[in-house]
Symmetry: C2
Amino acid sequence: MRLPEHLGIIPDGNRRWAQDRGMSKEQGYDKGINPGLSLFYTCKELGIKELTYYGFTKDNTKRPTVQRLAFTKACIDAVKLLSKEDASLLVIGNTSSAVFPKELLPYTKRQTFGNGSIKVNFLVNYSWEWDISSICECNDTKPDLYKNIHSSDISRIDLILRWGGRRRLSGFLPIQSVYSDFYIIDEYWPDYKESHIHDALNWYNKQDITLGG
Amino acid sequence: MRLPEHLGIIPDGNRRWAQDRGMSKEQGYDKGINPGLSLFYTCKELGIKELTYYGFTKDNTKRPTVQRLAFTKACIDAVKLLSKEDASLLVIGNTSSAVFPKELLPYTKRQTFGNGSIKVNFLVNYSWEWDISSICECNDTKPDLYKNIHSSDISRIDLILRWGGRRRLSGFLPIQSVYSDFYIIDEYWPDYKESHIHDALNWYNKQDITLGG
């Protein structure tokens, strides 16, 4: 079976999940932490080489404060849990903004935990405009775009999985996503099941990868 | 009904369509011209304000010469047909390369035909790297990315339709696509039907547009 090397994870639907259960929207976010860890274990076991989680974005921080605090805490908790695992971990986002959580600053340089067997990237206060704007400083007429973005340590993505049914990127790593395959799961992220990964990989195995050729 | 203002069109599957009929691959391309014109009429009638066709890319030009010549001719013919309609027409792509067809150079500055009732963009010898690399020349620490790319005259895209079943962007306008919804049609482009558009618009009407918020 042809495995993707790098999976992009868009864990959407936490608020809708909470509302469906009569909870307030912000109560959905911490229900996404265990799914993230389960997915990590499954991918590591399967031999996936790199995982990128879409934590939260600058766009997301415009939401009500109670939500912003809840998704920020969920991201902090998730990164701390991942740092106890066997992974090479990096948090990427705009750290110069007040909404970037100080607790995650130590992770904004890649660190190896355990044997660093799988590369894990976690986007926190990420913005596609912030990411790409650094191309402006490259002073090169034929720039290598992959090298000149803020997220240059994140590889090209083979397969993007999005939970919650929406069929869009919502600003997720536009440069690394130019050739990615997209796989949409209708269930909300807190309802993550291991079978979602297997179904996505079976689908990916049948795709013809051309890189635009 | 909430209509998208700008549709992106990825007309894929011409080669597979030809092969299914025992034709050689390159014979599929000119079967995509009439569908493109039908789609134009339907969108204009519906009141769509802007259409962008994915003609061919720099990546595509690596294909066998017989195919390159066939898709180049199909794009020239399509643009010439569109120039007889009521549209504001622009061809965008890297004109400094030898594979850019000279016949289309007059269209690389936007021209109004008829009343120019609908904005139509046609990507020819397009490359996402070429498009974005011009950000490098902007000399501004906080650049407006939409204004500094080569395709700055193409607006943000609301809905991208791709024929031929593949679920990927294949390098299509990465900046204008960051918030776009994706709608995939399994049928090949030469099998275009007006119902594809209506189905896509009905689907789009039910989506919740957040622009990442």
